[in-house]
């Protein structure tokens, strides 16, 4: 994450975005990419 440390807990998907990828062809970026852009 942004402080350079790994998250304490394991990541897990709660709300799936698979249908958006499949039906709308959307590509999702990993959140750490967006967070770095925003804070950088």
């Amino acid at each position: 994450m942004l402080n350079g440390q790994k998250p304490v807990g394991a990541a897990r998907t709660v709300y799936s975005n698979a249908a958006a990828t499949l039906n709308l062809g959307m590509q999702f970026q990993p959140v750490h990419v967006l967070l770095s852009e925003y804070a950088g």
Partner: protein, 272 residues
């Protein structure tokens, strides 16, 4: 050139949608509820291609005549015009009626617009689970929520969540009963959307929540519950990402560095 109408196009999410369509060369029509409140939409004038391709008009989705005028000539409409407010005076008037009546009006009129090809509704994770950010009661803790799940509604949950649930039900019912629609309908269900705002608006709940998380303020039992239950999307951001949280103003009644204690006696969605 195609025309896209973006209801809520001056709001937190909608401003990004407006920016995207303008940059792709569309003619963009954005409604605002009050044209005299320029500070709510003048940030859109700075966007690329806005000078010749952006039209800002006054419209409330509860006003059928204004909505019909707005929709007329649109090829695509994005509907993200729902009050995203957690504290209101009158939940029925301020939270439930605009999205539900607005969606009903919209769908009733959309069939009369021959140019319309595509409609995108911005629902919410709350349309799928009104208990959000908590899981649906009695589902296994590791359940992965998908479109296959029956949306969960509880009349005790936050009226904003219920409004999003009911508005989405209106769309689902409409699609079911109108198999030969002349336009395509897509619903998207964001979870929590926050980040940099394209505007200086101080009425955005996304920005308000950033402020609360950063300063660990719990002005009402809803936010207090998120801290107490260790809702992780929030906690990760606060702990690891302090730089991101500068700018937004504190919500009424909250000052940075102090504790806003909730009033247990009042429901958490009433005005602070």
């Amino acid at each position: 050139m195609q025309t896209v109408g973006i209801i809520g196009g001056a709001g937190f999410i909608g401003s990004y949608v407006t920016r995207k369509f303008l940059s792709e060369g569309y003619d963009v029509r954005v409604p605002v509820r009050d044209l005299t409140k320029k500070e709510r939409y003048d940030h859109l004038d700075q966007l690329e291609n806005a000078v010749y391709h952006l039209d800002i008009v006054e419209m409330d989705v509860q006003d059928e005549t204004a909505l019909r005028d707005f929709l007329s000539g649109c090829d695509i409409v994005v509907h993200s015009g729902t009050p995203f407010q957690l504290a209101v005076e009158d939940p029925q008037r301020d939270l439930l009626d605009p999205p539900i009546r607005g969606t009903e009006n919209f769908l009733k009129l959309a069939g009369e617009i021959p140019s319309l090809k595509k409609v995108v509704f911005v629902g919410s994770v709350a349309s799928l689970n009104t208990a959000y950010p908590l899981p649906v009661p009695n589902r296994p803790a590791d359940h992965v929520y998908t479109e296959a799940d029956e949306p969960h509604h509880d009349a005790d949950d936050h009226p904003y969540a219920q409004a999003k649930y009911y508005a989405d039900q209106v769309v689902r019912q409409f699609v079911k009963t109108h198999p030969d629609l002349g336009f395509e309908v897509v619903s998207v269900y964001p979870t929590f959307v926050t980040g940099q705002s394209l505007s200086g608006r101080d009425d955005s709940s996304s920005m308000e929540m950033q402020y609360l998380f950063k300063n660990r303020l719990a002005p009402n039992p809803f936010v207090e519950m998120m801290f107490a239950k260790n809702v992780e999307f929030a906690m990760v951001s606060v702990v690891m990402w302090p730089r991101a949280f500068s700018g937004p103003r504190p919500p009424p009644g909250c000052t940075a560095g102090t504790t806003c204690s909730p009033t247990e006696a009042t429901p958490y969605w009433t005005s602070r």
